[in-house]
């Protein structure tokens, strides 16, 4: 058989995800080894294959390190107040239901000060995708304890170790009514990308929790090494258990991490309910609200 020859294209392809970023603002502010950038990388990849009209995707974030994500995405992006990304997103979505609204924020922002809004939006099944990056700490302000900080971990406002029981976020999301609940770590890049893609495609309140290292504060204070050490910890200690009972998957301090897709159900959204209800009540005198 004659030798087969192949011609290699010398032209180097561009990194296609850069189209989704405000590259004029890179390098970004996140620390070396911080996992937020990795989650944004996955988000960009998910957008790429989502088939969504990017002019109609809006990112809303709160305050904190993860809150800065809005500023780096090349989409209509809103950097709002601490804890209030979800209600802002509520108004945005209800004003223009054709928008695909993504809330992208941190654990403190979304579940401490923003906790109330989180549960109500899930209860209402507002059609939005919530990407929560959980680094177990308040990073931007210097490393204070968060509602997700595991028992015994130290933080600047829990200098002798945290004695508060943290939230089990997938459980909180599911019990509040979220129709899609998944947890992954920033090590699981392909799973994160797929989960974000599924959450984007899902109608209703979709929630993706992504664990990420905070090398400068959570790791350093708790002597856990740097970002890479934490990523290796994720690799060694994660167990994929799709469909697990969210009640059982709380996180301890450097313990086992149960990851996977836990909830993927169907429920009419807020606007579905509103329109259907008024249509039933008022018949043809009611004109369906479409924005």
């Amino acid at each position: 058989m004659a030798d087969e020859l192949y011609e290699i294209e010398e032209a180097v392809p561009v990194n296609t995800v850069e189209a989704y970023l405000r590259t004029d603002r890179l390098p970004h502010i996140w620390c070396p080894g911080c996992g937020i950038g990795t989650t944004v990388n996955c988000f960009a990849h998910a957008l790429e294959t989502s088939g969504l009209d990017l002019d109609k995707v809006a990112v809303v974030s709160g305050i904190g390190c993860t809150g800065r994500v809005a500023g780096y995405t090349n989409l209509d992006s809103f950097h709002t107040t601490h804890g209030r990304a979800i209600p802002f997103a509520t108004g945005l979505k209800l004003a223009n239901p054709r928008l695909k609204v993504v809330v992208y924020s941190g654990d403190g922002d979304l579940t401490a000060i923003g906790g109330n809004h989180f549960i109500h939006a899930a209860r209402r099944n507002l059609d939005m995708t919530v990407i929560l990056v959980n680094n177990f700490i308040y990073g931007m302000t210097g490393g204070q304890v968060a509602p997700t900080t595991p028992l015994t971990a130290t933080a600047t406002t829990a200098p002798y170790g945290n004695f508060e029981q943290p939230f089990n976020l997938p459980y909180l999301a599911e019990s509040s009514g979220a129709v899609y609940v998944a947890r992954w770590t920033s090590y699981h890049v392909r799973h994160v990308t797929k989960a974000i893609k599924e959450a984007l495609a899902k109608k209703g309140f979709s929630f993706v929790e992504i664990l990420a290292p905070c090398p400068t504060l959570f790791n350093r204070r708790n002597k856990l090494g740097d970002g890479l050490d934490q990523m290796i910890y994720y690799r060694e200690n994660s167990e994929i258990r799709n469909g697990a009972d969210t009640k059982t998957i709380g996180l301890g301090f450097q313990g086992k991490i149960i990851v996977g897709k836990f909830v993927d159900s169907e429920r009419p959204t807020y606007l579905d309910m509103m329109n259907e209800y008024y249509r039933k009540k008022f018949g043809d005198t009611y004109e369906e609200y479409r924005g």
Partner: protein
């Protein structure tokens, strides 16, 4: 234009050194151990990675997916068969 005889998947990486923060994710998670942090410094003082040898890269882009700083991405060489 170069030619090669084998059909083995080959690729390479593009490194945007100025964005790198030396976190080491790409080096650790490269499945072929094809990357290492260089001795060069970028303007911020970090050591960006370098591809040890193109022979080692298969263009899987795991480095690109994991990089928090968009400082590296991998690609597979586009090839087309040329008659012998």
């Amino acid at each position: 234009m170069t030619t090669q005889k084998e059909k083995k998947v080959r690729g390479s990486v593009v490194i945007v050194g100025e964005r790198c923060k030396g976190c080491g994710f790409c080096v650790e998670f490269c499945p072929t151990d094809g990357l290492k942090l260089s001795d060069q410094y970028n303007v911020k003082g970090y050591h960006p990675p370098l591809l040890i040898s193109e022979e080692l890269c298969n263009g899987c882009n795991i480095c690109g997916l994991m990089c928090p700083d968009f400082a590296i991405y991998g690609f597979i060489f586009m090839k087309k068969k040329v008659s012998a």
